[in-house]
């Protein structure tokens, strides 16, 4: 017999050790969220508690307010939440169809070499740091927006506008959406496609009707991820948002203010309530992301019922 009893014993001990180790690591990873939430909560909730050193802030008017002015001591993030939702959602609306089509192109339609080239294009876009997008946005996108506005005889704040934020975010979430969609489409069982082709559907019909349907769960997961990025993007957005003092903003050519741009504005030089309230804004942002993910995951479960990927 091959078995070396001592060795086997050691193997078993090792096995147990690794199991414990992996579990400890997983617990460690997930406990960071607890640390972060506790930390942000501790900081973010303090302005609403009685006895806060810079004067208690009313939670209700904070959450529903439509004016955010440090100079007047009025902090209302209600309109900022709406602005954030609007800009992220519109970005998704623009980016989603484009990225799904691009993904389909890369995964199924393009000739092999073109497909590889396009895949690198998407990878490159994903690798561009967000500040670089910010530089690009304040140099180019604002100009485009201004030009579009001038076609309608509207003057903008130098191009800083809701539209600029939306376009910027649409570009920024595009690589995330596309690469997730590619993965989902590639994961579709080739048997399904062959079955469709065998029934006399054309290749294009199969691509649109079978591949996309089968992959929709994965595609939707990409959308959730992309939306999360759109909510949380800070530095680039702050460069083109224009930071409006009241709101909400529905006019695409008017300046806007998002939760993240609020957190960044003047952060370097500020203290006291104005500093602490940023954590409250961060807390609101986390809650917004959490809720939106939760709702979207419910939707995903519904639409993903007959999906394989």
């Amino acid at each position: 017999m091959l078995i070396d009893k001592k060795r086997v014993k050691r193997n078993k001990a090792l096995d147990k050790f690794f199991r414990g180790f992996f579990m400890a690591m997983a617990i460690l990873s997930s406990s960071f969220i607890v640390i972060i939430v506790l930390f942000v909560c501790a900081k973010g909730i303090s302005p609403f508690l009685p006895g806060y050193e810079y004067g208690q802030v009313d939670l209700i008017s904070f959450l529903t307010g439509s004016i955010y002015r440090q100079d007047q001591g009025i902090y209302g993030v209600g309109f900022i939440i709406i602005n954030t939702l609007i800009s992220a959602f519109l970005a998704l609306v623009i980016s989603f169809p484009l990225s799904v089509l691009t993904a389909l192109f890369i995964a199924k339609i393009a000739p092999k070499k073109l497909s590889a080239a396009m895949q690198s294009v998407v990878e490159l876009l994903a690798a561009v740091p967000s500040v670089v997008y910010g530089v690009f946005a304040s140099g180019v996108i604002t100009g485009v927006v201004e030009w579009i506005a001038s076609l309608f005889g509207i003057t903008t704040f130098g191009g800083s506008s809701l539209l600029a934020v939306v376009l910027l975010l649409a570009i920024m979430i595009f690589p995330t959406l596309t690469s997730m969609s590619i993965t989902a489409i590639r994961a579709v069982d080739p048997n399904l496609e062959q079955a469709s082709l065998a029934l006399g559907a054309t290749k294009t019909q199969t691509n649109f009707k079978i591949c996309l349907t089968a992959a929709k769960s994965g595609i939707f997961a990409g959308a959730i991820l992309g939306l999360g990025r759109a909510y949380g993007e800070a530095t680039a957005v702050a460069m083109v948002a224009g930071n409006k003092l009241f709101g909400p903003t529905f006019n695409p050519f008017d300046i806007t203010r998002t939760l993240t741009s609020t957190m960044l504005a003047g952060l370097k030089e500020t203290t006291g309530l104005d500093y602490d309230i940023r954590f409250s804004v961060g807390l609101v942002l986390i809650v917004v992301i959490f809720f939106s993910n939760w709702i979207l995951n419910m939707v995903k479960k519904r639409i993903g019922r007959n999906s394989v990927a």
Partner: protein, 404 residues
Amino acid sequence: MNRLVKDNILKGITYIASALSVIVLAAILWYLVSNGLSLISSDLIVGDYYATTENAAISNDYIYDESAIGEYTGEGYYSAKWGIALEDITTAHNDEEISVVYVDPNSPFMHMNSLVSGEDGMALSLTEGSSIQNIYYLDEAGETVFLSRVKMADAQNTIAVLDANATGIVSINYESIGGGIRGSIFATLYLIGISLLISLPIGISSAIYLHEYASKNKINSLIRQGIDTLTGVPSIVYGLMGVTVLFPVTQLAGATSTSILLGGLTLAIMLLPTIIRSTEEALIVVPQSLRDGSLSLGATKSQTIFKVVLPCAVNGILTGVLLGIGRVIGESAALVYTTSTVINDNPTILSQGTSLSLMIWSIMSGEQPNYELASAISLIILVIVFAINFIVKIIGKRLAKSFV
């Protein structure tokens, strides 16, 4: 409608969608190149950020002889009297400087001693490429005159003033151009190293636990939910958390202020969801039959994981590494508070420093945004990203070859 026509229209739409993304990438690259390419030079990449300033007086044993000073026909404004040619330059940081383009070997500026106390009158000569801050010269009456940077105005005026008024040179204050980003490049690499070193083992282990061990119970779904939620935390919050919660940890390692180590730790936590997710995806792809095969041969679970599952998943894990590196290179908001925006020419793990992206952020949010420099640094970042992608892909192919 004819089916073929319909098909072609649909196909066409996908072509257009893809073309749009190419256009966006091209526009970004075009913008960066047209703004930044001219600034990229070896000086920018390998040079020090901080200028070294020299304060030097003409040596006592130097005897001025105007006839010994030669001719010069190159660029810039030349003073045949003092043997020095100057030109106006704008540095990468948008400062206007008067730069030395040529110094005659017999010029007084070639025979100087340092005035800096502690340097013991070390011999110095004015080097080409340095910028002049001020000059003390003797006028007709033998009085020392201070020619400040503002009074110098530009190269032409400086030469004119020296030619017309000066009867002798007393001392000069000059500095190297500086503005290089070498320190920031190293800081960025350190950040990548530290954050991956920490987040890879933790992240891969977590993914293994979640995918290979965890049964569907409350605790495990709580763990998973926690990790998923980490994805949604905006990076700026990580930064604020890092400086408060992780700073004491780095203090144990000897840090006295914000440091690259602190930034690396913060980024490591930020990377966890990315690494865990991509590792898990890679593990999902490994066929269950391989695990069964290994276990049926009497291998323990951990042996199966290390010998069969992980080698098969290595490519997917590398994808996670790539994504992670991309995030580290691109991150700015989380680093503002953890590494500080202090530019450091010779960063160490425990010193402050700024990554390239953070440097762009500082440049763009400073008193005077400098689009050109930001674009130039962006281009350098992109080159680094491509290089790392390329290397990791090659490693991935090698590894894959040895397994399949």
